[in-house]
């Protein structure tokens, strides 16, 4: 049980002696620390990714000795519990009570959607990990940037790769039945079918599914399966896939959450050979990634994945924006604008810049899971440069269409 004494004291001041807190002068001096609020999930079923997010930003701040652009930085970590109402309350906590300069997180799309209006109304910049497409598309928010990826950003790539490089003619998809899954699968379907493939089956097991067998049994005769599972579900799914004898017969493709590097330690032989598209690869050979991977190994004994890398890059974005603004970094509106202008050449995921909607344009890797010296590794076999959230599509046409859902774009080639 960790109790942060400093914050306890601050909390007691604010609640017990509120009158004092109100009367206190609001220090705006340059010497005041720059406050970063992290909205993450540390308890409950989504804690896996949430804990990694905290590790990622902590590793970055440790590397920088808690000083960005010459200014002390304070990290305030808030546990949303992984639900929209909790995300809202915690956003209020870090914005209204702690007066943070910028928010990192949250983890899940439904959490992000519950607070986007609120952060805009309160003019606080937010650097999202959550993938909800429309937050950087049809409902672009001037206070939000996303250095991770939209739901479809990596699976567009996988769709293209499956059709053109793997030459798969008929594919089935299976994914958690929630917005992140819907958007991933629709993006895959669109890019894959536009490149000549056919999605012949789409399966949607609920987010909480004790046994995937009845779904896997329905896959039928196909050339490949794309799965978009997230959290701990890929582990359960891929074991069942192998147990039922499909592994080795029908190639398995995955999105980034389905084969995240941080998930490899939970997986066994059933994952060998699975191909995945991801915006981050722990094997990437950039200076910052070498530092990042070494730090994560040293401090936490883990191989980092997309959740922690996303927050490390978010930290780099904050640093770059602070450097640009210098003494004006406390102006939250200016900070949001500066964040949109950030362009970095060296991050753990490669070069990063943002489009006008605040979404990242960067590399996406196709990886194959191999077993080397008894350890699973995702080996990069192809790199796509400058991938935007719109893939190869015309931006205006893309935005004129509805957002990806379970049924949009409609699947025209479904069989039985």
């Amino acid at each position: 049980m960790t109790i942060k004494r400093r914050t306890v004291l601050a909390g007691m001041l604010a609640s017990g002696a509120g009158a004092v807190a109100v009367g206190m002068p609001v220090a705006r001096a340059q010497s005041a620390p720059f406050k970063i609020g992290l909205l993450t999930v540390k308890t409950g079923p989504l804690a896996q990714g949430g804990i990694q997010m905290e590790q990622g930003i902590a590793a970055f701040l440790k590397e920088k000795n808690n000083t960005l652009a010459g200014r002390k930085v304070e990290l305030l970590v808030a546990d949303t519990g992984g639900n929209p109402a909790g995300a809202k309350t915690k956003a209020q906590e870090v914005i209204e009570r702690d007066k943070v300069n910028v928010i990192l997180g949250p983890l899940a799309a439904f959490e992000l959607l519950a607070i986007t209006d609120y952060v805009r109304d309160n003019a606080t910049p937010l650097i999202s990990l959550a993938a909800a497409e429309d937050v950087t598309q049809r409902k672009a928010n001037p206070f939000v940037i996303r250095p991770s990826a939209t739901s479809g950003q990596c699976s567009h790539v996988m769709g293209d790769y499956a059709a053109k490089d793997l030459n798969l003619k008929r594919v089935a998809t299976i994914s958690d039945d929630f917005a992140f899954g819907h958007e991933q699968i629709s993006a895959f379907q669109r890019a894959y079918e536009d490149a000549g493939g056919k999605v012949v089956k789409k399966l949607w097991p609920p987010l909480v599914t004790p046994d995937y067998t009845p779904f896997i049994a329905q896959i039928g005769k196909v050339d490949g399966v794309f799965h978009g599972f997230a959290g701990s579900n890929p582990v359960k799914f891929m074991r069942s896939y192998a147990d039922l004898g499909l592994k080795g017969k029908v190639p398995l493709l995955a999105g980034w959450t389905g084969m995240d590097d941080a998930l490899l330690k939970s997986l066994g032989d059933e994952a060998v050979g699975v191909l995945s598209a991801a915006y981050y690869s722990a094997t990437a050979d950039t200076p910052s990634n070498r530092r990042f991977v070494a730090a994560m190994q040293k401090d936490y004994g883990v191989l980092p994945g997309g959740y922690s890398a996303g927050m490390y890059v978010a930290g780099q974005c904050v640093e770059a924006a602070m450097q640009e603004l210098d003494s004006k970094a406390d102006d939250r509106k200016a900070l949001a604008e500066a964040l949109h202008r950030v362009a970095l050449t060296d991050t753990p995921r490669g070069a990063v810049k943002f489009d006008q909607y605040g979404n990242v344009v960067g590399e996406v890797f196709i990886r194959r899971c191999d077993k080397k010296d008894g350890q699973l590794v995702n080996t990069v076999i192809k790199t796509y440069q400058n991938v935007s959230q719109f893939w190869s599509y015309n931006e205006r046409e893309f935005l004129a269409n509805p957002v990806y859902t379970r049924d949009y774009p409609p699947a025209k080639n479904l069989e039985n």
Binding site: S15, V22, T89, F110, A114, F178, A179, T405
Partner: protein
């Protein structure tokens, strides 16, 4: 024990504290936490009518809470005004409660609990899966709060006062309800259902009406919730919400009017405030529940009153009264 003057002053003091709260609590964040406590207290009070007074333990109240919220959010999203959305949402909540009652009253005891659990899960499933209606797990945003009599509720203190007014109304109506002859007959159906039938009471109808009343206030709490968050998604209707409401009722003290309010305060403060300082807040919450139940099986409020009385009498040198632990003192009812 029942000294009207003490009670009267206690009530005045409590209301004064609640009314002046935004003035001394400081930051708007804490005002918002206070609003949340009141919202959950309304739901817990509504649930308590069934759990505490009717002896019917429901694990499906999140469904009633959420259905009102969803009805209002959908009407607002379709462009209708608050004046239409709010009453219609309450009508929907009442209709849903009537159906809920007809199904659940096929059984009492554990059967009632399981039927309500199933209803709650089915409503959650519909909210989740019927995305063309509910927008699925992406939820529905509520763009504005209402402005009754031209008073904007956008700020934290304004919303707090509106919530407080609704809360006091809920508390007053429930206080009248449980003291009324109808409330007495409801308690009768809890303790002596067969005797009540023999005396010519329609036990089913009494329970049915109690569920309607409880469902109505659950719907009101649901409306406060969506106006507070300006957002609704299926998580609101999940089993955890129903379970949390039940925990509030039992930990505070079921069958008392003050208990559920304190229970709501414990859960909301642990979840939202204490979680900022203690990473293992779930563990602490679990320990608190176990401590409450170990030392005060009747719940925090009636238990504290009992312990206080025992302590007081011991201090005065009297022998502690052989008070039963099962029931709360009359003054707290």
């Amino acid at each position: 024990m029942s000294r009207p003057n003490t009670q009267f002053f206690a009530r005045i003091l409590a209301i004064a504290v609640l009314v002046s709260l935004p003035l001394w609590i400081g930051n708007s964040y804490y005002i918002n936490i206070a609003s949340q406590i009141l919202i959950w207290a309304v739901l817990a009070l509504a649930l308590n009518l069934l759990v505490g007074y009717a002896g019917l333990t429901s694990l499906g109240h999140a469904g009633l809470f959420g259905i009102a919220g969803y009805a209002a959010a959908m009407l607002l999203a379709a462009g209708h005004g608050h004046l239409l959305a709010v009453p219609l949402a309450l009508v929907v909540a009442l209709l849903a409660s009537a159906l809920f009652a007809i199904l659940a009253l096929r059984a009492t005891g554990i059967g009632f609990l399981m039927i309500t659990l199933a209803i709650g899960q089915i409503l959650w499933g519909i909210a989740y899966r019927w995305a063309s209606l509910t927008n699925g797990d992406n939820g529905i945003s509520v763009s504005s709060r209402p402005a009754p009599f031209g008073l904007s509720l956008a700020s934290a203190p304004a919303f707090y006062y509106a919530t407080l007014a609704v809360f006091l109304l809920a508390l007053a109506s429930m206080s009248v309800f449980v003291r009324s002859p109808f409330g007495a007959s409801l308690v009768g159906t809890r303790d002596q259902a067969r005797r009540m039938t023999a005396l010519g009471y329609n036990v089913w109808l009494i329970r049915f009406l109690a569920i309607l009343f409880s469902g109505f206030w659950s719907g009101v709490a649901g409306l406060l919730f969506i106006y507070y968050n300006q957002f609704i998604s299926p998580q609101v209707m999940a089993l955890t919400t129903s379970a949390e409401a039940l925990l509030m009722v039992i930990s505070g003290g079921s069958g008392t009017l003050l208990g559920p309010i304190f229970g709501a305060a414990i859960v909301v403060v642990m979840k939202n405030v204490v979680s900022a300082y203690i990473e293992r807040w779930n563990l602490v919450l679990g320990v608190i529940f176990i401590l409450i139940i170990s030392f005060m099986p009747e719940g925090l409020v009636p238990g504290s009153v009992r312990l206080w009385r025992v302590g007081w009498q011991a201090w005065r040198g009297k022998r502690p009264a052989a008070a039963g632990t099962g029931s709360a003192p009359e003054a707290w009812r």
